[in-house]
């Protein structure tokens, strides 16, 4: 296990290098000229050329690429006009808020999705099942930013129970978490329902009942344990949604995380910052996936 973790950690820099390379190629391939965008719509050709030179964009592509990679190796993301220098420390300042939001979204997903799925499976075809299954279909269709906005309209504007923006305390965590987790709760709920129904048909469950075990004990001790593996898989697969969704939710609730900073960077046309934050999201993605894999091995004896 330890060697697996160390090996995967060692692979992260290599993966980042690969991602940086691909992003570099994509950014050079898509239409749109960075210098023109930075200089602004009213700039003359001469001004654009000055900007191009300042940003080092008039150098050969290979030199630009080598510069980017060597900088990264030293922890230098390049020159950010917003922060007048290497933006890495300023990005890292924002990481805890994003971590808090995504971690609480995962917790809520587990805390709400699993019971909902079990409830639906135990009342298959009856009204609790219909309610949960309908909720799943609805939550998968609703945009997270709209859900957040509706929560805001109800709980902040109408009822005044929760603060609408910023990170000001435990109460301010509620709405962003719900908005971000909604989709995951639906996915996990649906999966748990399906898995529990499937597992209940299996021999070991019949054996457990035959031994005289009570239903809750069969469910929680036997069925749920086997259902955990697919649940962890699904949560792992949704890491991309979780991180991407956090960008939108952070902007809506003025949450001081890196997603909000990413959008600020886009607005300011600070491409160094945009690419730096993108790389940080990749590192986050890899770390979460590593965590998921460790969990996966812990709960699945076949992989131990």
């Amino acid at each position: 296990m330890l060697s697996l973790v160390l090996w995967r950690l060692a692979l992260i820099p290599l993966t980042v290098l690969g991602v940086v390379t691909i992003l570099f190629l994509i950014f050079k391939a898509v239409p749109g000229d960075e210098a023109t965008m930075v200089a602004g719509a009213t700039a003359t050709q001469a001004e654009i050329d000055v900007v191009r030179h300042q940003l080092g964009l008039d150098r050969p592509l290979f030199v630009q690429y080598a510069d980017r990679v060597l900088g990264l190796a030293r922890g230098d993301l390049g020159y950010s006009a917003t922060f007048r220098g290497n933006p890495l420390p300023r990005i890292l300042e924002r990481v805890p808020a994003t971590l808090l939001l995504t971690a609480s979204a995962i917790l809520l997903t587990v805390a709400a999705g699993i019971p909902a799925g079990i409830l639906a499976a135990s009342w298959r075809g009856r009204w609790p099942d219909i309610a949960v299954s309908g909720g799943v279909v609805a939550l998968l269709a609703v945009p997270n930013f709209w859900l957040g906005m509706m929560l805001m309209a109800l709980f902040s504007v109408r009822l005044g129970w929760l603060p609408s923006i910023g990170l000001t305390g435990p109460a301010s965590l509620v709405m962003p978490t719900v908005a971000l987790a909604a989709r995951l709760i639906a996915l996990v709920g649906r999966l748990v329902r399906g898995t529990v129904i499937e597992e209940q048909r299996k021999d070991y469950v019949r054996t457990a009942y035959a031994k005289g075990l009570a239903t809750p004990r069969v469910l929680y001790r036997h069925v749920l344990r086997n259902a955990l593996v697919p649940i962890v898989t699904v949560v792992g697969l949704q890491t991309g949604y979780l991180l991407g969704g956090s960008v939108v939710v952070e902007r809506l609730f003025a949450w001081p995380g890196i997603g909000d900073l990413l959008l600020t960077a886009v607005g300011l046309r600070d491409f160094t910052l945009v690419q730096g934050i993108t790389i940080l999201f990749v590192v986050g993605f890899l770390l979460i996936n590593l965590l998921v894999e460790i969990l996966y091995r812990l709960i699945n004896p076949r992989l131990r």
Binding site: V19, G32, E34, A141, P143, A153, G240, R251, I277, T278
Partner: protein
């Protein structure tokens, strides 16, 4: 359940397509016509869904926005489909070095959360419809290519493909005539679900000010504007959200229904 999700989703999609096609004919007002005497009016007989911050009829703007959102979703998913299918077929059928290089590249790309990738791409191209379509397309290609590849790998080992090869059939013909048709159902299901995702991504980016720009009546951009008026006129935010949800629901139901119909093994899930 027999009438089923598939028919319901298909009916909704046909409805949305008709609204998109007929747009200006059925809209009660010109979507950009301002009525400064009717600002932020709640829903009424004259304005079914009320009016926005400069007195434009929300119902008409939703109708006009249907065309924009549907077009963006369909075009970007179609482009991602062509690229993803091409890459997936190439990687899966050819195997070897082509497969390895493509898969490493796609795996790397998949470590960038797709919305973050889309935002980064838009920052480079600019916030407009073509930037939006490029961003959504690129961020959807990796997962689709992987899916097609996995299906092709499965098919490649089957006897009838080997038979075709033994008959001396050439590779492009085998891929087009025998491999691709058997992968179609998986692809169509995925594309339908992806179209729903594309609607969510496009409106999220519109909301963030990175998609189609106002004053175009794009659903996401309508939210972005509505946020300031949440206290006085929540109806401005409610209706575009319902429109987005309904369209995503339509694509999801269609995709799920199709999966149930075409892939009975997945029905239990």
């Amino acid at each position: 359940m027999k009438f089923g999700f598939l028919s319901f989703g298909a009916t909704l999609l046909i409805g949305f397509s008709l609204v998109a096609l007929l747009g200006d004919r059925i809209a009660p007002y010109d979507p950009s016509e301002q009525d400064l005497l009717a600002i932020l009016d709640p829903p009424s007989a004259a304005h079914w869904f009320g009016t926005d911050e400069i007195g434009r009829d929300i119902a008409s703007r939703i109708i006009a926005g249907t065309r924009i959102t549907l077009l963006i979703a369909v075009v970007s998913v179609a482009l991602a489909g062509v690229a993803g299918i091409g890459l997936g077929l190439a990687a899966g059928y050819r195997g070897g070095a082509v497969d390895r290089v493509l898969m490493v590249a796609l795996d790397l790309l998949m470590t960038v959360p797709s919305l973050v990738l889309a935002i980064a791409i838009i920052s480079a191209i600019g916030a407009n419809a073509s930037g939006l379509i490029t961003a959504i397309t690129v961020s959807f290609i990796p997962s689709l290519a992987r899916l097609v590849r996995a299906r092709v790998l499965e098919l490649r080992e089957l006897d009838y493909i080997e038979a075709a090869r033994a008959l001396g059939m050439r590779h492009p013909r085998i891929v087009l005539r025998h491999v691709f048709p058997n992968a179609v159902s998986v692809i169509v299901i995925e594309l339908s679900l992806m179209a729903g995702q594309a609607v969510l991504v496009a409106t999220a980016l519109g909301f963030l000010g990175l998609g189609v720009q106002p004053p175009a009546p794009e659903w996401g951009a309508m939210f972005g504007a509505s946020r300031q008026y949440l206290e006085v006129a929540p109806h401005v935010a409610v209706v575009p959200g319902l429109a987005v949800s309904l369209l995503v629901l339509a694509f999801n139901l269609f995709g799920d229904g199709l999966r149930d119909r075409l892939d009975p093994a997945a029905r239990a899930r």
